[in-house]
């Protein structure tokens, strides 16, 4: 099964339509065949558009792992950190079921239940499949999804198909064992610990075999890759081509998280993480071959809520134990909420005018803008934004590029829970992550950051508060076009 190339590819340099997306396309998935779009339109981890409206949760029932990755440390307990592999509370399958039913009743927008760790779900087959089996019985309206390193995947593909799990994510960082040996020090395979190139060769073989078996069964596969500068950065373009040819539907290239405080091999050895620009460059390079996911928030293995938020603290086991859940009633309510959102999205899709905007000269240069957004609107105060959403406007339309976090990850036990002592340095840091942007859209902004942003060559804009993000970005782009600031020849590109 080969899917059409879709998505948020870079706009053609000289204007006009890019091959794969034309007009303001908030949802690249609109180009998909109907039966596939129907599968992903309410899945926040598969559809950029859906992640503004629908929520997901992970249950941490899978602690064991069968491989070691150099970006992972198996001591996974910090409540203040958000990154894959970290959880606060391991659950038994019955506890997980109670948690899912409680969350699904309290957050009707929750459509998806994933098992993602903190180890590898398929290295915990009994706990993982017991959870899926009972959920399929008790909450048939919840989509099930699983993510894996792929080592045990071929063995469990039929089991996955049995529980209607129609979304699987495989983390594939390489297809070359020599590169793999720099990422994976060992795997546990056929009752032995295997190391080096041989280990990587087996892992890669199983991943590719599993990918093929899933796509043959019509199960949608997303491939996650961790971008590790100097290790697999160039290689990931090849990975993207190969997994697409094998039928993967979406490629999610994520930046390496490597802090010494996390105690990982890469963290301790000083391996640099990619910059936002490096990440975007690689995503753009892969986008010619493959639909790229750019809205991943690299969430925890026990995350709850919308992407980018974590409501896990509201649903700890002690709180769930005293909640009374009437799931039959909740299911009725959930269906109403889902239908209303889908209707809203369909209406929005129907209203879109794919024509190239005649007000913008076709040779205008693209402009990168940051948005303090919430629920698809320009709805966040500059100073309250936990992340900025990055959009590129060009004559071909508006495309989502990714997000940039405004706060650093947990700095480890010593600094855990402490705020930044110096608000000035925090502001400077948040402005520095906006590098490359020319405009920041937000609902409100204070006097001081306004001045600092202008000094940094970024134009603050609070005039589109509460408007849909894509409309607001296009409106600003039109204003820039009208004032003649988008000509390719402009020596100083800055808008501010």
């Amino acid at each position: 099964m080969e899917l059409p190339v879709i998505g948020n590819t870079p706009a053609a340099k000289q204007g006009g339509c890019s091959s794969s997306g034309c007009g303001t396309a908030p949802d690249a998935l609109a180009h998909l065949p109907d039966h596939i779009r129907a599968k992903v339109q309410d899945h926040p981890c598969y559809s950029e558009e859906a992640h503004h409206y629908f929520a997901r949760m992970h249950v941490a029932v899978a602690p064991a792992c069968n491989i070691q990755c150099n970006y992972c440390n198996r001591k996974y307990d910090c409540a203040n950190e958000s990154r894959p592999g970290v959880v606060s509370e391991l659950l038994t399958p019955p506890q997980a079921i109670n948690k899912v039913l409680a969350v699904a009743a309290a957050i009707p927008q929750m459509t998806v239940l994933g098992i993602a760790g903190p180890g590898d779900p398929l290295a915990n087959p009994e706990r993982t499949f017991e959870t899926f089996r009972k959920l399929a019985e008790k909450a048939p309206d919840i989509k099930l999804c699983v993510s894996t390193n792929g080592l045990n995947l071929p063995q469990y593909v039929d089991e996955i198909a049995k529980y209607n799990i129609d979304h699987v994510t495989i983390t594939i960082n390489c297809i070359d064992p020599e590169i793999g040996a720099q990422i994976y020090p060992w795997i546990y395979w056929e009752n032995k610990r295997i190391r080096g190139v041989e280990a990587a060769r087996i892992l890669i073989e199983q991943q590719q075999k599993g990918l093929q078996m899933l796509t043959e069964r019509g199960i949608l596969v997303k491939v996650n890759s961790v971008l590790i500068p100097g290790v697999n950065d160039q290689h990931l373009k090849e990975v993207s081509k190969v997994v697409k040819a094998a039928g993967a539907f979406l490629h999610n290239v994520m930046p390496l998280i490597a802090e010494a405080e996390h105690g990982t091999y890469y963290g301790l050895m000083g391996q640099p993480s990619p910059t936002a620009e490096q990440l975007q460059e690689l995503q753009d390079a892969c986008a010619g071959d493959m639909a790229m996911m750019r809205h991943c928030r690299q969430c925890r293995a026990d995350a709850v809520g919308m992407l980018g938020e974590d409501r896990g603290a509201e649903f700890t086991m002690d709180k769930i134990d005293v909640m009374e859940v009437d799931y039959e009633a909740a299911m009725v309510r959930r269906k109403e909420v889902h239908d209303a959102i889908i209707d809203q999205l369909e209406a929005k899709r129907a209203a879109q005018n794919p024509a190239v905007n005649p007000e913008i000269p076709a040779n205008s240069r693209p402009v990168l803008m940051a948005v303090a957004g919430k629920n698809g609107l320009v709805a966040e105060h500059f100073g309250h934004a936990r992340e900025f959403l990055m959009y590129e406007a060009s004559p071909a339309g508006v495309r989502f590029i990714g997000h940039r976090k405004t706060e650093l990850y947990c700095g480890g036990m010593d600094t855990c829970g402490e705020g930044d002592a110096d608000p000035d340095s925090l502001l400077d840091r948040n402005i520095s992550i906006l590098k490359g942007c020319e405009v920041i859209l937000c609902s409100k902004i204070g006097y001081e950051p306004w001045g600092k942003l202008e000094a940094a060559g970024i134009a603050p804009n609070g005039e589109h508060a509460m408007e849909p993000i894509e409309d607001a970005v296009m409106a600003v782009y039109k204003e820039l076009a009208a004032s003649g600031r988008l000509s390719q020849a402009t020596e100083s590109k800055k808008v501010a």
Partner: protein, 92 residues
């Protein structure tokens, strides 16, 4: 003849699932091996399974308290680096 789990264990369950003798059980603060059931996998596997999958150096030791996965053997972090960071403990 039996292996033991030390306090460096992070309770990841990996060993429990691969033990052919069901000798490993959950306990606080960490998992333990029931000595009477542990055969060190003799007769079942070429190597003890708990030590073959355990991700934590020094978490599984033999009767002489020798770690089956000594420092540096699983993460690839050089011993000098572990010493520099104060993460290296001489085997007891």
């Amino acid at each position: 003849m039996a292996l033991q789990i030390t306090e460096t264990c992070v309770n990841c369950w990996a060993c429990v699932d691969v033990c052919p003798n069901d000798a490993i059980y959950e306990d606080k603060p960490h998992f333990l091996i029931e000595a009477s059931k542990c055969t060190e996998c003799l007769g079942d596997h070429a190597v003890p399974q708990c030590a073959a999958i355990c991700p934590i150096e020094c978490a599984i030791v033999n009767e002489l308290d020798e770690p089956l996965n000594p420092p540096g053997s699983l993460t690839g972090i050089p011993l000098e680096k572990l010493k520099e960071l104060g993460l290296y403990k001489e085997a007891a």
